[in-house]
Amino acid sequence: MISALLVMLGLALALGAALGAASVLFRTQGDPLVDKIDAILPQTQCGQCGYPGCKPYATAIAGGDADINQCPPGGDEGVRKLADLLGREYKPLNAEHGVEKPKSVAVIDEATCIGCTLCIQACPVDAIVGAAKQMHTIVADLCTGCELCVAPCPADCIAMVPVADTVDTWKWRYPVFDLKPVMHAPAKEAA
C-alpha cells in the first residue's frame, strides 16, 4: 500500500518536473496562431480590413475580434484558407471592405511629381525612392499594390497599373471549360 502510494507520488513528481521543464525549454515566442494567420494574409498592408496592416488583422482574428472575410487582396481563396485553418465556415468576402482586384502596382508620372515626399511616408513597405523636391519613383518589384500612396499625392500623379502577365508568370488554363446554359436562362437573370 505504502509502496504503491510512493510509486504514484514519485511518478507524479517526476512527470510534473518533466512538464515544467518542457514548458520552460520549449516556450513559444509570440502567438503561433497569429503567425499562422499572418502567413496566409497577402501582406499587401493596405488596411482595407480595418486594421493598420496584416499582422494587426491576424491578431484581431486570433483574438476573435474580426471576421475572416475582411481582406480583399487575399480574395476568395484567402478566406477559404483562413476558414480551413480556423475550422470555420467559409463566407464570401465582406463587400464593405472592398472587392478583389487584379494585382496592380503604383506608377508615378515622373514629369508631374513635385517631390513632396508624402507618398514615401504613406508607403508601408518602403517601395518608393526619392528625396525632398526631387522626382520620386516606385520600385515595381517591391510595390504591393496597396494604393495607400495614391490619396496623399497633392499632384495627383500616382496611378495604379494592373500587372500584365509575362512569359514567365503566365499560367496554363484550367483544362475544363464550364458550359454556360444558354437555352433556358431565366429572363429575370438576363435583365
Binding site: 513597405v125 512569359v167 496554363w172
Partner: protein, 576 residues
C-alpha cells in the same frame, strides 16, 4: 563490348514517323529578311541587352549579356543593323511577347573578331564562364545553361557522363541527322565535358531505330580510340530520351523522386549540346544556329540548319506548308506546345516544328470521367500515379498533387496517350504546376513585403525613441543652470543610464547602446580650440562665460516666476 542494359517502367510505342525527314541531309536555311532574337531563351535570368536600335552588329557579336550566373548570353547570328529592341511574339503557348533584338541582315555576314581562348590551359571556372558567354544551353529542349551543369560538384568527380542521343519522340530527327554528320565533333565535345566533370566514363545512348547515327558514332569513337567512350544502342521505346529514363537504361541507377541524377554521380547532356560545347571552345563559335526538324503536314519534311531568330513562318515556307494545316507545334506530338503564330522566331529550344492537320492528328475525343483503370500508372515512365495527380490537380488540391510528386512528372504524355477516357492529363499537370509556381511567387512576394513592413515599423519606433532620448538628454543638460526644483524634476543622465538596462527589448537595448556611444564620442570631442590659450584669449573666454552665466541666471529667475508649467514640460519631454 557487350554492356548489360536495364529498363525503365512504363513507356509507350507510338508510330515513330521519322522516315520522311531523314531522307535528305541537313539543309542550311538562308537568312530571313529579319531576325527576331529573344533575349530570354533559357532557364534563368533574362540577359541584359547590349545593343540598341540603329547599332550595327557583326556575326557572333554578343547582343545580350548573361544576368548573373544562372543565365546565358545571346549572340547575333549574322552581321546587320539592329532595327529594334522591343517585345515580340514568343514561341510560347501563352501567345505573349517578350523582349527581343530585331536585326536586319546586311547579307555580308561579317564575323566579329574572335578572342582566342585556350581552353586547354584555362581553369574549369574560366571554361564555364566562356561557355556562359558563348550562350551554350541544353539543346534537348530544357535549355538549362550548360556551364552550370559542368562542374565536378562537391564530390570532386562524377562517375558517368551520359550523352543523350536517344531522341525518342515521334517526328523529331534533328539529333539523328546531327549524329550522322557531326559524330566526331560531338564525341570531342563529350571528351571535354568528361574532363570538366572528372567523369570515369562517357556513355552515348542511341535508340536502335537510328542505325546510321550509331554507326557514325562508333566509327568516330574508333577514330578517337578513347577507352572511356562507349556508344550504347538502347531499345526504342518512348520516352527513352528522358534524362532519368536513359540513365536508368544505361546504368541501372534509379533516381528517386525529388532527387537529381547528379546526387548519384551521373550527369546528362544532349548530343547537340556536346557539339555546341566543342564549337564554343575549339572554334570560339557562340551558339547562333541550331538544327530544326520540320515535319508533319509539309511538302518537303527535312532538317534545316537555322539561324536562331528566324521567324517560324519563314522556315515553313521553305518546307512547303500544306494548306489544310490547322495548328503549328513547337516540339513533337507528345510534348510539344502549340505556337501562337508564324511571326514567332526559332529559339535555342526549338528542336522541331510540326505542322498538324485534322487528318494527321484527329481532334481529341471527348473527355470522359476517370474510371481508375490504372492504365496511366502502368504507362508512366516516372513511376507516378497519374490518376491521383489528375484528381488532385482537377480539384485544385495542389498540396496533395505535390505529395504525389507532381514535379517529377516529365510531361511525357504517356498517360494521356493510353488513357481510355481520353483525359488530357498533361494539361492538368501543366495547369497545376504553373499554379503552384504562381503561388510560390506570391508567397515570396508576401514574405518580402512582411519583412519590409516590419522593418519600417521598427524604424519608425526607433526614430521615436531616439527623439525621446534626445529630448531627455537635452532637458537633463539644462538644469545645471536652473533653480533647484527645476533640476530635481528632470531626470539626470545617470537615471537614464540606469533605466536603459531595464528595457528588455534587444532592439531598444541596441539603440540605447548606440546612443550611449554617440554621447561618449561627443564628450570626447570637446571643443579643441579651448586648450593652449594665451592669457589674453583666456581672459576673453572667461568674460564671455561670465556674460553667459549672467544671462542664464536672469532667465532662470524669470522662469522661477512661472515655474509650475515648466517642470511638467520637462517631464513630458523625458517620458516621450
Amino acid at each position: 563490348m557487350l554492356r548489360q542494359l536495364f529498363s525503365f517502367n512504363g513507356g509507350v510505342k507510338p508510330d515513330p514517323n521519322k522516315g520522311a525527314s531523314t531522307r535528305e541531309p541537313i539543309a542550311r536555311l538562308p537568312l530571313p529578311p529579319q531576325l527576331i532574337i529573344p533575349l530570354h531563351q533559357h532557364i534563368g535570368g533574362t540577359p541584359r541587352p547590349l545593343v540598341k536600335a540603329g547599332d550595327r552588329v557583326l556575326h557572333g557579336q554578343r547582343i545580350g549579356a548573361a544576368d548573373g550566373n544562372v543565365s546565358s548570353a545571346v549572340h547575333a547570328p549574322t552581321s546587320g543593323t539592329v532595327v529594334a529592341v522591343e517585345p515580340r511574339l514568343m514561341p510560347h503557348a501563352s501567345g505573349l511577347s517578350a523582349m527581343a533584338v530585331v536585326i536586319e541582315p546586311d547579307g555580308l555576314d561579317l564575323r566579329i573578331e574572335r578572342e582566342p581562348f585556350d581552353w586547354h590551359a584555362a581553369t574549369p571556372g574560366e571554361v564555364r564562364d566562356h561557355l556562359r558567354d558563348a550562350g551554350v544551353v541544353g539543346l534537348g529542349g530544357a535549355v538549362f545553361p550548360s556551364h552550370l551543369k559542368l562542374s565536378a560538384g562537391t564530390a570532386g568527380s562524377t562517375d558517368t557522363l551520359v550523352i543523350n542521343g536517344a531522341e525518342c519522340e515521334p517526328f523529331i530527327t534533328c539529333d539523328d541527322m546531327l549524329m550522322r554528320s557531326e559524330a566526331l565533333d560531338i564525341l570531342r565535345g563529350a571528351q571535354v565535358m568528361r574532363k570538366m566533370l572528372a567523369a570515369r566514363q562517357v556513355l552515348v545512348g542511341v535508340e536502335d531505330n537510328k542505325p546510321d547515327a550509331a554507326a557514325a558514332l562508333k566509327a568516330a569513337a574508333a577514330e578517337l580510340s578513347d577507352a572511356s567512350l562507349d556508344i550504347v544502342v538502347v531499345p526504342t521505346r518512348y520516352p527513352a530520351g528522358g534524362a532519368k529514363q536513359l540513365i536508368r537504361v544505361l546504368t541501372g541507377i534509379e533516381v528517386p523522386h525529388g532527387r537529381r541524377s547528379t546526387d548519384y554521380g551521373v550527369q546528362c547532356f544532349n548530343v547537340a549540346t556536346a557539339l555546341a560545347v566543342w564549337n564554343a571552345l575549339e572554334h570560339g563559335e557562340p551558339l547562333t544556329r541550331r538544327i530544326v526538324t520540320v515535319a508533319g503536314n509539309v511538302e518537303r519534311p527535312r532538317n534545316f540548319d537555322v539561324a536562331i531568330g528566324t521567324p517560324i513562318g519563314f522556315v515553313f515556307e521553305h518546307a512547303g506548308l500544306k494548306p489544310d494545316t490547322d495548328t503549328l507545334i513547337m516540339g513533337g506530338p507528345m510534348m510539344g506546345v502549340p505556337l501562337p503564330g508564324v511571326e514567332a522566331p526559332v529559339v535555342k529550344a526549338t528542336n522541331c516544328l510540326l505542322a498538324s492537320s485534322p487528318a494527321l492528328f484527329p481532334p481529341p475525343e471527348p473527355e470522359m470521367p476517370c474510371i481508375r483503370c490504372g492504365e496511366c500508372a502502368r504507362a508512366c515512365p516516372a513511376d507516378l500515379q497519374p490518376f491521383e495527380l489528375y484528381w488532385h490537380a482537377r480539384s485544385r488540391n495542389f498540396g496533395r498533387a505535390q505529395e504525389y510528386h507532381l514535379f517529377d512528372c516529365i510531361e511525357c504524355g504517356c498517360c494521356a496517350y493510353v488513357c481510355p477516357s481520353h483525359i488530357p492529363l498533361v494539361d492538368y499537370y501543366r495547369y497545376a504546376k504553373s499554379e503552384i509556381w504562381a503561388r510560390e511567387r506570391d508567397k515570396d512576394a508576401a514574405d518580402s513585403a512582411r519583412e519590409r513592413f516590419e522593418f519600417r515599423n521598427w524604424r519608425a519606433e526607433r526614430e521615436k525613441e531616439e527623439k525621446a532620448a534626445r529630448l531627455a538628454a537635452r532637458s537633463a543638460a539644462k538644469p545645471a543652470a536652473k533653480t533647484a526644483d527645476v533640476a530635481d524634476s528632470a531626470p539626470s543622465p545617470a537615471d537614464a543610464q540606469a533605466a536603459a538596462p531595464a528595457t528588455t527589448d534587444p532592439k531598444k537595448a541596441l539603440i540605447e547602446a548606440a546612443m550611449a556611444r554617440a554621447r561618449a564620442q561627443k564628450e570626447a570631442a570637446a571643443a579643441k580650440n579651448t586648450d593652449a590659450l594665451t592669457p589674453d584669449q583666456q581672459a576673453q573666454v572667461d568674460a564671455a562665460e561670465a556674460r553667459r552665466k549672467r544671462a542664464a541666471d536672469l532667465l532662470a529667475e524669470k522662469q522661477t516666476a512661472n515655474a509650475p508649467a515648466d517642470p511638467s514640460a520637462g517631464q513630458n519631454d523625458a517620458a516621450r
